[in-house]
């Protein structure tokens, strides 16, 4: 046996996985993989683009940063977290995927997600369909008036916007006000019949957040702050997500 210690050349270069570990509590457990494959066997994204969650993590562990950056798979993983749920070591592969999305320059990320995020940044509604607070108020008032008249049992039904001191701050996916306004009504009826004191916000009423999917942290933060500030400004006790 040689008495000389074999030393491998130079300092290990910082890789993508190291940077993600620094961002996460407990480093996202990214070094703890037992390679058991439970993640991949129960993942609906396994096989898409020749990839699966275990393979993706192994590639990151091996420092294959270029391949990771080039892969489209991070956009086919929905970050649903089932892999964490079944993982004996609770490895946060979805955070690895989220940060892999961010490796790509913003303007080169998928156009549909990019466009929806940009629309949400255009006005204080934070609607991924670009509806303004005025558009929203117009639709809500118009539909409410129509139904109060057509269905007299609901003549007292409310759908307030910016009601100070309401107990619940309710958000709404843009799809209803923008494309199928009649679908707003069943939710209002439920809230009315339950006797709930609720309000929408003129700012941050839209429930969807494509900036999170785009892995654009600044924009995600902006949207969350807009809606949270509005709920606090109105003094609402419960921020009620409708989805």
């Amino acid at each position: 046996m040689s008495d000389q210690v074999v030393s491998l050349g130079g300092k290990k270069r910082s890789t993508f996985i190291d940077k993600v570990k620094e961002l996460l509590p407990e480093g996202g457990n990214l070094s703890l993989c037992l390679t058991c494959g439970a993640c991949s066997s129960g993942c609906p994204a396994t096989g898409l683009d020749g990839m699966d969650p275990r393979k993706f993590l192994r590639m990151a562990a091996l420092g294959m940063d270029e391949e990771i950056e080039k892969s489209d798979w991070p956009w086919m993983c929905t970050m649903c977290q089932r892999c964490i749920y079944v993982c004996p070591m609770k490895i946060d592969i979805p955070q690895l995927v989220f940060n892999a999305r961010a490796l790509r320059p913003r303007e080169q990320r998928p156009k549909g997600i990019l466009g929806s995020c940009d629309l949400a940044l255009k006005n204080p509604s934070t609607s991924a369909m670009g509806a303004t607070p005025e558009d929203f108020a117009f639709v809500v008032e118009d539909v409410l008036e129509e139904y109060r008249e057509a269905q007299p049992e609901f003549a007292d039904m409310q759908a307030p916007i910016d009601k100070q001191g309401a107990e619940f701050f309710v958000n709404q996916n843009s799809r209803e006000p923008v494309t199928e306004p009649d679908e707003l009504v069943p939710l209002w009826k439920v809230l009315h019949l339950a006797g709930v004191d609720w309000t929408y916000g003129s700012h941050g009423w839209a429930g969807e957040n494509y900036c999170m999917f785009l892995a654009d942290n600044d924009a995600w933060e902006h949207i969350t702050r807009t809606t949270a500030n509005q709920a606090d400004k109105l003094g609402c006790k419960i921020f009620l997500n409708t989805e």
């Binding site: 609906p44 086919m76 679908e183 009826k189 709930v196 949270a228 921020f239 009620l240 997500n241 989805e243």
Partner: protein, 193 residues
């Protein structure tokens, strides 16, 4: 949506003075408190079968199995216990439908439908005529899966069936109901457009 708000508040250290909740929990609470008079009488003779999608963002990623139980309580009260059929696996162990994470807008349609094949098979196995999807991304994706793979099950929001079960669902609020339910328990049928 529930997850982006909860995770965003934490990730960006945002100060706030409210609690973040999901409406499933309140639907269940309001039914238990007798505020929402929901029953399944409308489905007693029809015996239309329903299954439910546990949205990843709300169940596994936010509130876990307790909210999945609330969701089941609401669904069983609305459609009748014998008309509710579980997918397997379910609750926190449920499969994602493939509509989340921006997949619907990412442009990878072929891969998205391939991803959703597992969900489609799960639903088909239940034999249910309706899949209740309270999340808009799930709703859109599962709707497309039903068309694409040809099973033809319908996809509905919770609020639609809640109002149907309370007898207050009007004729123009039935966009996602199939022909079997278009004429059932109609509130103010004279207002049909």
């Amino acid at each position: 949506m529930t997850f982006s708000v909860r995770a965003g508040l934490k990730k960006f250290n945002i100060d706030y003075n409210f609690e973040v909740k999901n409406i499933y929990e309140y639907y269940a609470k309001w039914i238990r408190e007798g505020k929402l008079k929901v029953n399944s009488d409308w489905n007693k003779d029809l015996q239309i079968k329903f299954t439910v999608q546990d949205p990843c963002q709300i169940v596994r990623k936010s509130y876990g199995d307790p909210i999945a139980e609330d969701l089941r309580f609401v669904v069983k009260t609305m459609v009748g216990e014998e008309n509710f059929i579980e997918m397997h696996p379910n609750r926190s162990n449920n499969y994602c439908c493939g509509g989340g994470g921006g997949f619907l807008q990412s442009g990878y349609k072929e891969q998205r439908l391939e991803f959703g094949k597992l969900k489609d098979q799960q639903i088909q196995k239940t034999g249910a005529a309706y899949c209740i999807a309270g999340c808009h991304n799930c709703h859109a994706q599962i709707h497309e899966l039903s068309d694409h793979y040809g099973a033809g099950y319908h996809v509905v929001h919770l609020w639609t069936i809640l109002c149907l079960a309370m007898g207050v669902l009007g004729p123009n609020e039935r966009e996602y109901l199939g022909d079997d339910l278009k004429e059932v328990n109609v509130f103010h049928p004279e207002t049909a457009m």
